[in-house]
Amino acid sequence: MLEINNLKARIGTTEILRGVTLTVNAGEVHAIMGPNGSGKSTLAQVIAGHEDFVVTDGTITFDGRDLLELKPEERAREGIFLGFQYPVEIPGVNNAYLLKAAVNARRKHRGLSEIDAFEFLKLAKEKMAMLDMDPKFLNRGVNEGFSGGEKKRNEILQMAMLEPKLAILDETDSGLDIDALRAVAAGINGLRDPNRAIILVTHYQRLLDYVEPDQVHVLSEGRIARSGDKSLAVELETKGYDWVREAASA
């Protein structure tokens, strides 16, 4: 589904990704781990099309399409979803309005009619119940005054409504208490599907206790230093990231 080959990217004059190669197939859950500054978030944002990053080399294809040619909104309509590490507060833009606009943008792209208002509300309330979210959040400004946990749940709600082909969740577990972590994990597990791929970008193993990955990759200094199965995450937790760095430079 997603093929990344020798991807290099920089912001300003700083090179952050220095040749990432990664293949993610439909139905798989991949975890990308790594120390701060290793390029995890950059990789997530480059896949989503953030224009602050300049891709200097390499390719990304998604279902055979050259992703780098597409604008962020086109990537989203093709079925890519990025769950933000720091979801943006947008006062004055109603949460329900954004959800509906996003759902309809994707539907329109697929040649479907706009979602019926009643159907939309029913679906949104259903997903919110699963995430243990108060339906009142629908009528608030996007992430406006939300706590850290509420913002992350809101990201998962958007994901659940949009039903993407590829979901990239950037540090979705950071700053969550155990209840919020469980709710978010349940939301992610509920979306596991043979036709969908999920990339979890995370610093800690914690989330992986709840969402079991098929593959774990460790990013270090802009490259994938190691890949393995879920046991790699456990090994990292005990040995720390220095171990990967040393192993990579050895």
Partner: protein
């Protein structure tokens, strides 16, 4: 280059040609006062950014033509439309002519309306533009809200102009008194249909007696070749409340002066505004609040969205006079610049001569938040739509401050409509 001067002899001729009535002595006195002081020029600090030359040129052309005011027929349809869309007791001044029928129809709803010429109103000499207004005034409105009354519907002041010839000058004057313990809402609506060379000069005085309350919305949607100066002076007595919300959605050269004078303790003054500037537009909002006594509070927030080569000015002055202890004044001005060619001059001015006061101000000028833009785009919303959504949200916070419930929705959609046009034009 010297700015052109107002043709005073022609003006004197025009004043003399007006019908003789009870206002005549005041017109003549205002003329002499104006002759002595002249209209403001950009050499004055308060007029640094707004050059009245276009207004003076239109006035001189109009004075030379010696035309009687005429009412264009197309105005009637527009007035009818306004009446249908906004439920209010509408009083209409069209091309400076007061609609007598509308006056007669003003319902018995706790207020009284008369022509200025029918009473003994003292129009005063406090500013050259007010003198210009008095000198050429055919007639004005005097509205009195009875003590303790609460009119059910807003009082609508429709100022509608249509130029039927090369140049037209219109003076409108409204004097409002709200009696003790009375509560009234107002919508002052400025409309016109397009044609070059129109200058209107509007002067309104609003006096709030003890415990009186006014919810006042000014909605300016003049055509894009309209020149206008507009002044509202508000005098607030003890425990009175003012909620003013202003919208500038049109006009070519617009200058608004809002001057609030707090003379009674316990008064509260909230005044907010939104200006949307596009190609060729110049919108200047000057506000001034005098806290003469305390305790009293004032809250001000103006926001602007500027596109193309729009030029806007916000100047907010707050003066806390000696002894006005317990004053609590806040002012804020936020601007969104959507193009490189747009320009905003934002100037907060605080002058504090009292000891126990709480005053704050904040001004921001910026572009749309790129992170928010990316966030929306990453949800499949196109770039241009995302710009629209974020800009509307920025403006909506002022729309949300309208304290006349029945106006919220209609003004909200006018704002969205205008923003849509401005942003689309900017994308071309």
């Amino acid at each position: 280059m010297n700015a052109p001067a107002l043709a005073m002899d022609a003006l004197a001729g025009a004043v003399a040609a007006l019908p003789r009535d009870r206002l005549t002595p005041q017109r003549l006195a205002a003329l002499e006062h104006l002759r002595a002081h002249g209209l403001p020029t950009t050499r004055l600090e308060d007029w640094k950014y707004t050059d009245l030359t276009p207004a003076i040129e239109i006035s001189n052309r109009w004075l030379a033509a010696k035309r009687e005011p005429v009412l264009a027929e197309s105005v009637a349809a527009k007035i009818a439309e306004v009446r249908t869309n906004i439920d209010a007791h509408w009083l209409v001044i069209a091309n400076g002519i007061i609609d007598g029928q509308a006056l007669a129809d003003a319902a018995d709803d706790g207020f009284d309306v008369r022509l200025l010429s029918a009473g003994d109103a003292q129009l005063g000499f406090d500013a050259p533009l007010a003198d210009f207004n008095t000198a050429l005034l055919r007639d004005g409105l005097r509205i009195t809200v009875l003590p303790g009354a609460t009119p059910r519907k807003p009082i609508g002041l429709l100022l509608i102009d249509e130029t039927v010839a090369d140049a037209e000058v219109v003076q409108a004057r409204i004097e409002i008194e709200i009696g003790a313990n009375a509560t009234a809402s107002f919508v002052e609506y400025h409309l016109s249909s397009g044609s070059a060379g129109h200058f209107s000069n509007v002067v309104t005085n609003l006096a709030l007696a003890d415990h009186a309350r006014a919810d006042y919305v000014r909605l300016q949607r003049r055509s894009l070749d309209h020149t206008q100066t507009n002044r509202l002076f508000v005098a607030q007595a003890r425990d009175s409340i003012l909620n003013h919300c202003a919208f500038d959605l049109g006009g070519q050269m617009i200058r608004n002066d809002l001057h609030i004078d707090i003379a009674g303790p316990g008064a509260s003054s909230v005044f907010n505004g939104l200006y949307l500037g596009g190609s060729g537009q110049h919108i200047d909002n000057h506000t001034r609040i005098d806290h003469r006594v305390g305790p009293a509070t004032s809250r001000q927030e103006y926001r602007g969205v500027l596109t193309a080569n729009a030029r806007c000015i916000w100047n907010g002055k707050a003066i806390v006079h000696a002894g006005a202890d317990g004053t609590d004044a806040e002012q804020a001005n936020h601007n969104l610049l959507l193009s490189r060619g747009a320009e905003i001059d934002a100037k907060p001015e605080l002058e504090i001569y009292a000891d126990e006061v709480k005053c704050s101000h904040g001004t921001t000028v910026g572009q749309l938040d790129e992170t928010a833009l990316f966030y929306l785009r990453s949800r499949g919303i196109g770039h241009d739509d995302a710009v629209q959504i974020l800009t509307r949200a920025f403006a909506a916070s002022i729309v949300g401050k309208i304290s006349v419930d029945t106006l919220n929705e209609i003004i909200g959609s006018m704002v969205e409509g205008r923003l849509g046009v401005l942003i689309e034009a900017g994308n071309k």
